[in-house]
Amino acid sequence: MQLSTSTEADDKSTGSKKTELILSYEEVEALGRELDELRARIVADLGQSDRDYIYKIIKAQRGFEVAGRGLAYLGWFPPAWIAGVGSLAVSKILDNMEIGHNVMHGQYDWMREPSLNSREFEWDTVCPADQWRHSHNYMHHTFTNIVGEDRDIGYGIMRMDRDQEWNPYYLGNLLYASMLMVGFEWGVMLHDLEAENIVQGKRKWTDIKGLAKGMWRKASKQVLKDYIVFPALTGPLFPITVAGNVSANLVRNLWTFSIIFCGHFPSGVQTFTPEECENETKGQWYLRQMLGSANITGTPLFHIMSGNLSHQIEHHLFPDIPANRYPEIAPEVRAICEKHGLPYNTGTFSHQIFSTWKKIAKLSLPNSWTEDDDNFSVKVERERKGVA
């Protein structure tokens, strides 16, 4: 590896210094082999304890759900209402994050349990599972942090990277992010429509007919359940139960948005150009996943409640390894990073979320008005050198 410091032409306006770490082709391939070995070791070890783990989480989720729905009958008593909202929110967070997100990544496909198969699973949110598997598992996880290809960079509505061209629309960056946070499940649902491409005429209305139908089918069931069936089951408490269910969904939205945005947008996370990623080797793909993701430190309970997306780096390296294994893998991944002189982006929740919102705020302005916080970047020699 070699380090170089340069004042990049792009950043002349701000005069910021950029330090570049350049890894040789062979070094990146060695990194890839180390990660492949780590992966093989974990996969070979999967078994009953991983099965027990996911069923334990499912049992807890169902417990919170039943408690939350049950407490709705005491909704006239404010402390009970609050406890009910809390229980239901916890249930939905577990369902979406530690269960749904991970099961749909194929993390538990090896168990051959039809109810936990990535293609059959459906989750407790308005976004249909099949559409999410496309926008998330395929688009986001294949093209992670490639500006212009990974649609999770700004979800088509925000400016989340200095390489995205600024225009006055982005003055509303903070507002768009806040709106997305409040209605996150709906934002996730609409994600696969690529609405901005329709507005720009790059996508035809006919392309989205099938998607819209799927959304309608899924969202209507979710709305029926949370805002009609369960409230009706509480009889005269109908409006109070609706308010409770709206609140639980809101809490879930705020939390999932916050965790997910900490995964790729705190300072120090690197983005890539499509040219940099052409004909990537597996080692180069691994490296991009590492540099493009950020972790959050916390207690075991915090990791479970974040669906282990607090181990975003490990998740992006091994999206189909059961999430309960990420904590045990993390020290090894970190050691591999350190060995190669690579950054391992992690921090407390408050640090990462503050850093994320700061970035959202700064990117609402043109680059020339703000300073680039990220003054360290890693480059790869794309070709093998010295081949006789």
């Binding site: 093989a40 996969v43 999967l46 078994g47 009953q48 304890s49 991983d50 099965r51 027990d52 069923y55 499912i58 049992k59 169902r62 749909m104 990544h105 194929g106 496909d109 090896w110 168990m111 051959r112 349990e113 109810s115 198969n117 990535s118 293609r119 459906e122 989750w123 407790d124 598997r133 496309h134 598992n137 395929y138 996880h141 294949t142 899924k218 069931k221 979710q222 029926l224 359940k225 069936v229 369960f230 089951l233 597996k282 793909w285 999206p319 189909d320």
Partner: protein, 363 residues
């Protein structure tokens, strides 16, 4: 109004628990209380021979019974993984309120059968699929029947014989069973008891690797039938056993132009992984598009595309699971890890799986 109440109640429950099926809640309380899943609880375990275990299962209310000769799919969890295999009940055919008796022979390379032989216990709950299969007694019971079985192929034909007994059959039956040695003759006592209690039943057990007997021994020979069941030409014959026995008996019937009177079912031995280092061979069949291709060693996704199919795909590197599909049968190799998978009816990722030998994939 009142009669519509149960269906109204069930739609409210299903709407309330959506998107998760009701059973995903019930199974956490008691796996035998099911809304729509069919399961069975082991109520009796017998180990009559060193290689077999006989399980009696009490099924949940979704069970609709079986016809003698049919098979069911049984699934059980081993080291965290659910494995499914087909077995034929051995008891007399019965309706929804009956038990299911399964005799499972532990083959040397039978991962599931060995596990069940060693570990199955009363109280275990197993997954079940409804009985299926065309190898059954005709509705008009044959006046004369010949049953021929080999090894674990005894279960469907024993079920047929027991059904005839239960129905107080008015005819005759010859039962010829091939076992390797007397120690392997599972159900020998039952067969002898059936023959003793029912003069119309004639039972013969032939040992293929044991010569110390009065009657014939060794593998199937025409004399076995001509001597033990001389009226075979007038009878309906029901045959189930290993490939060698099946082929020999079929040849015997074909030579005598009696194909129509022979009903058979092969029980498939667990597939053995072909050597992945051998040159690629076999046929890749695409089940739901009724097409096939000569295996050229590429991944299944590439071969499907070359054959003109357009299966869903995403990353083409094994991370996104967009292309996962059900492998009906055959052996595949994970091109990233080299691991081989010989199980049937499992989800595999098309973009990183290459067929080894014949493979049938549901795309």
């Amino acid at each position: 109004m009142l009669d519509r109440f149960p269906s109204m109640l069930s739609s409210v429950i299903e709407a309330a628990l959506a998107p998760h099926p009701v059973d995903r809640y019930l199974e956490l309380v008691d796996p035998m209380i099911t809304w729509s899943d069919l399961r069975g609880r082991v109520v009796d375990v017998r180990r009559d021979t060193a290689r077999t275990v006989t399980l009696t299962l009490a099924p949940t209310r979704q069970w609709t019974g079986f016809r003698a000769g049919q098979y069911i799919q049984l699934s059980t969890v081993i080291k965290g993984v659910r494995h499914t295999r087909c077995f034929s009940p051995a008891n007399a055919e019965c309706g929804p309120d009956g038990f299911i008796e399964l005799t499972i022979t532990a083959h040397d390379d039978g991962f599931v059968s060995r596990h069940l032989r060693d570990h199955a216990a009363t109280g275990d709950v197993m997954g079940l699929q409804p009985a299926t299969g065309d190898f059954v007694l005709p509705q008009q019971r044959p006046e004369q029947a010949v049953f021929i079985s080999g090894g674990s192929g005894i279960t469907p034909v024993l079920s047929m014989l027991r059904t005839l007994v239960a129905e107080r059959h008015n005819g005759s039956a010859v039962f010829i069973h091939y076992a390797t040695t007397p120690a392997d003759a599972v159900y020998a006592d039952e067969l002898n008891a059936l023959a003793a209690a029912n003069p119309w039943i004639d039972v013969h057990t032939i040992y293929t690797r044991h010569t110390d007997t009065d009657g014939p021994n060794g593998h199937f020979r025409p004399e076995h039938l001509t001597e033990l069941a001389p009226r075979f030409a007038q009878a309906q014959t029901f045959l189930c056993g290993p490939a060698g026995l099946m082929d020999a008996v079929r040849e015997f019937y074909t030579e005598r132009d009696l194909d129509d009177a022979l009903h058979s079912e092969a029980f498939t031995a667990p597939s053995v992984a072909p050597d992945p280092n051998e040159p690629v061979s076999g046929t890749l069949s695409f089940a739901s598009s009724a097409r096939s291709a000569e295996n050229d060693g590429h991944t299944i996704l590439e071969q499907a595309e070359a054959a003109g199919l357009t299966p869903e795909f995403g990353c083409r590197m094994g991370i996104c699971f967009s292309c996962s599909a059900v492998k009906k049968s055959g052996c595949t190799r994970n091109v990233l890890t080299g691991d081989v998978d010989t199980d049937s009816d499992t989800h595999i990722q098309l973009c990183i799986s290459a067929p080894v030998g014949d493979v049938e994939i549901d795309i």
